[in-house]
């Protein structure tokens, strides 16, 4: 019988690409990971990875097995969810990762409602950029997290994660009120205020400008949208601001709706949809988001719409 811990390493290798990265994610040494993967190859009876330059690549058999490892881990996740569902009430820690704007706007109401209905729940919120959420979910530092899905930045869905839509927002171009502009293309030489390099906001801003035919002239880096809007109001440049953060723009800022949309999803490890605490959080947050933006879709029956996907 294949060892599940080793399958998990293989799965993470297929996600992260290098043995060193897998080792870091598991707080192991690279040597340990290498040894365990060798042992997995012995169990499998055929090579699963091969050296490619400095690193390694998965063989077709390795990719197949990594895909099925997701199914096994999802089944394990379902088992723990079912186990938690046998408890009398909801209790224990729920680690939540969300981007700052959501923490400010959506989460408070949801946390209040959850704390009222399930006082034994221990709700732990971590502000973090959406790009960091998948890794944190994989490494079990989070139980649920908020992800963004911009149509301008294609993300291939992670087969180990699952989720439900939360928001579908308009993205605005925030410009100083005296600046005439009806779209991104009108402002090829204007200074931009974008997120810190590496954040999703940064990537999106650059990508939106690229598709408009220019690279943005970046003047300021700021991740908090209140700050961003203040800078725009001060005539320091233009910026992209999602609907959720553009609630009450300061004086001197004009918001131009763009065709680009920002979709937010609540994500969790595949198989965790049936976990009562996760399900409770999902409904609470969707309730809190009702009315804000467009609802992202119908509320799913608990743990049903999130069916287990099959391996390749």
């Amino acid at each position: 019988m294949l060892d599940v811990r080793r399958l998990r390493l293989l799965r993470d290798l297929s996600r992260l690409g290098t043995i060193a990265a897998v080792a870091q994610a598991h707080t192991y040494t690279a040597s340990a990971v290498s040894q365990q993967l060798s042992a997995l190859e012995r169990e499998a009876g055929r090579p699963l990875l091969e050296r490619a330059g400095r690193g390694v690549t998965l063989t077709p058999a390795g990719r197949t097995l990594a895909g099925h490892a997701d199914n096994v881990l999802a089944a394990l996740e379902e088992a723990t969810a079912a186990l938690a569902a046998t408890a009398a009430g909801l209790s224990g820690p729920v680690r939540i990762g969300a981007y700052p704007t959501a923490v400010r706007t959506l989460l408070p109401a949801a946390l209040v409602a959850l704390g009222r209905d399930h006082p034994a729940l221990e709700l732990l919120v971590s502000e973090m950029d959406p790009v960091a959420v998948p890794a944190a979910l994989h490494e079990r530092r989070l139980d649920v997290g908020l992800l963004h899905d911009y149509d301008v930045v294609p993300v291939r869905p992670d087969p180990a994660l699952d989720g439900v839509p939360l928001l579908d927002e308009t993205v605005y171009l925030a410009v100083p009120a005296d600046l005439p502009a009806s779209g991104v293309g009108d402002l090829p030489d204007v200074p931009w205020i974008v997120g810190s390099p590496g954040t999703l906001c940064h990537t999106v801003a650059v990508q939106v400008c690229r598709t408009a035919g220019f690279g943005p002239r970046v003047r300021h880096h700021a991740d908090d949208f209140a700050t961003v809007l203040a800078l725009v109001g001060a005539g320091q440049g233009v910026a992209l601001v999602p609907e959720l953060a553009a609630d009450r723009p300061p004086a001197g800022v004009r918001l131009v709706p763009l065709p680009t949309r920002r979709r937010t999803r609540i994500a969790y490890r595949r198989g965790a949809a049936g976990h009562p605490a996760v399900a409770a959080f999902v409904t609470a947050l969707r309730d809190a988001a009702a009315g804000r933006g467009r609802p992202g879709g119908p509320a799913p029956a608990r743990g049903v719409s999130a069916g287990r996907r099959r391996g390749r």
Copy 2:
């Protein structure tokens, strides 16, 4: 993350009932199993079993977890099946468990066909009573096996096993030619020839007589149907004989068809339907059985009709 080896122990405990039996099935000591199950309880964070008299019983949480353990193990089985499917041709051992009559009648043709089409396959047949097949599949001493499903002997389906129908046979009452009888009820005081105690044949014969209103007067025990028919021909008594074994009854034997039917299934561990060697065996055996008895049902697309069942 729950330990899968421990989940397997829990699953086997729910199947076998006692820790001692689980230990025997795994060739462990009872002490080891007890310790591992305690560790699983620590992982689960709640009691999974409780002492009941001399033995133990699963708590509701334990039963839930045992049910999901089946899903996890099935996903693992699918992974190994997918891994085997990446190999170039079919090879390796296939351990087959079948009842004697099938070994004599159905298997030879299937083995010849498989050996011809896949010479690298190592086909290992073990004659065994159907009642022993589920345990042998669980303990990985077999890869596929033949099961019986008499309508008079209810068997609850094993959630860890899967399978496809193979045969649907008439069961005959074999009587000496000079004995007038049109059914079991006509012969309350006649001596019977039945299988050895503990075999399914024995159970079925006793049960058929019970429903006819009497306990059979057992004179002989014989498991080979050729022997049984010879004894009947010698006027030693009557017996139940399935269609497959009643091909050419010896002189002096009359076969009275009964309403009872015997259904044969090809069984394997859940998740193994996609294993290429298992799938090849299934098709080969169904081909060999075509025409014999009634076909048990439509041939399923490989590994599809045998979908994964969900936990409770």
